[in-house]
Amino acid sequence: MNEVRKLHDEAMNLAEMAAVAKVKGNSEQANQLLRQAYETEVKAANLLIDASSPEPTRSVLFRSAASLAISCNELLEAERLIAKGLSGNPPQDIAEELRDLFESVNFHRHLELRGVVLEEDELQMSIAGESVSVGIAPAEQLVMRMEDARKLIFRTVERLLRRPYRESGAARGAAREYGLFVSVPRAASFAVSLKVSRPTKPLPGFEQELEFIHSSQIIDEIMSCLESFNRAAEKELRDKIPEDAYYRNFVGIAKNLAPDGTEVRQVAFTALRAGQERKVSLTRPRDEIRLAPERREELEAKKEGKVATITGRLLLADARRSGKEKIQLIDDAGQAHNVIVPEGMMSDIVKPLWEERVKVTGYYKQRAIRLEDISRALID
């Protein structure tokens, strides 16, 4: 048998074995087999290095070897193989696929230059409801939730890195090194995959200089907290997020992610971790989510009927006193209401609603209202 065919067949058998090992959850074995496949396919392709070698065999083999090189994170070698493939006379479609691969190499190198790794674990967010069809969703419903999901992920990163809650300013230190990537939307009813990029592992001996958490830890933590939130298991959620500011922040963002009950009836999060699936479906509309009162004074205020529900425009904000930020709401009759915003809510929950017509719920404390929940008011 021709040497090219022999080597190529061997490489493909190894790649098939790698695919099977991956499906069975044997990642280490899959990686070893993939590397052997890559090395064997490079040998097969290099036997046709002469640019006048028969096509499409030549370009298909170089494209195949380059794909395997990318899978093995051999980016420089992948680049060379793509160039070799293009240097012959590839058919138009194979040439196009070689260029696509080159873009893929560039993307991986961009991550490498930034010192980050895009892990395979991902969090899929899907929305379903009357206004959502297969593969299409209202931009507002999607974009808002994607932004909230982004906040949820980065607050979780900072919490897991044991940073004190940050009410303003940018994240600091290692927390800044994490990123979020969104992949092509999927039709189910409408879903996007969110992938967290993390800093590359510190070199041996430098572990202390960079606190490090895997994206899998971030995804596990978010899923675990969302599960407690979804069951209204307030105590369980408090045990997971003991710090008040982070707790309020999580609850506020999770409520924003919840369905509105009309346009969107379900928001589901599916975590894919090493091929294993874990799912949380938020089906209770935002307005029906009730968690137990946060403080004793709040409980007493509720008993005494001092509960406040005001609808109006959010027009004034005073963030000079950290932890006791204030906002002012002008109701439909033109009356101003001062609202104290507890730590954890101003930046992520209140600020995006600036100048909007909002509904505020809370309880009276002296002459001001202590904020418990704030959301966009429905248009009458």
Binding site: E16, M17, A19, P91, E277
Partner: protein
């Protein structure tokens, strides 16, 4: 073309291997296909409609789905893709005179090529036709048409180089399959 056939597709035959596909890989395709049909609550022997260049129907048979299989193939998108590969390969071998399958790697997965026994045995991919497969776990006609058009557009790039191409869309809920030969290049 209307073959008027009403044959059978036995997914477990894939685990005997195909020309160009190892038995281990074939077994994985068969298992993924079984998970997809089972997930759509179909009974063994369900009728699969084939539309497009070939109009016929098949009875499909698969092995019992185990808990282990469900755990292995719980990534719906991946399992659907693998299941569709399995169904498409069996269909092509039965509906066309292609007998050999070659594979290569491409950025988004496996690239299948179809050949004939009498073709050049020295070098792979010579005189071969490309096979584009896409799987849908559950979708309506519009989604099937949209996937088919997308794949046909991709293979049209082959026209200039005279690489023939076959496009197969497998939809598991109906279930149905669209098999279309890229006419200009065949």
């Amino acid at each position: 073309m209307n073959s008027g056939k009403h044959g059978t597709l036995v997914l477990t035959n894939l685990s005997e291997g195909l020309p160009g596909i190892t038995p281990t890989y074939g077994e994985m395709l068969a298992e993924a296909g079984a998970v997809c049909f089972d997930d759509q609550k179909h009974k063994n022997g369900v009728e699969l409609q084939v539309q497009g260049t070939f109009k016929t129907k098949y009875q499909v048979f698969w092995q019992p789905v185990t808990d282990k299989m469900l755990r292995c193939y719980n990534d719906e998108e991946r399992a659907t893709e693998l299941g569709a590969y399995g169904v498409a390969l069996l269909l092509i071998l039965d509906l066309t005179n292609y007998t050999v399958i070659e594979t290569s790697q491409k950025g988004t997965g496996i690239d299948f090529w179809l050949g004939k026994a009498e073709d050049n045995k020295e070098l792979p991919f010579q005189n071969a036709a490309r096979l584009e497969v896409t799987g849908i776990r559950s979708g309506d006609d519009n989604l099937v048409k949209s996937r088919l058009n997308k794949k046909l557009k991709q293979t049209k790039r082959s026209d200039g180089t005279l690489l023939p191409a076959l496009v197969v869309v497998v939809e598991f809920s109906a279930p149905l399959s669209h098999v279309v030969r890229n006419e200009r290049s065949s």
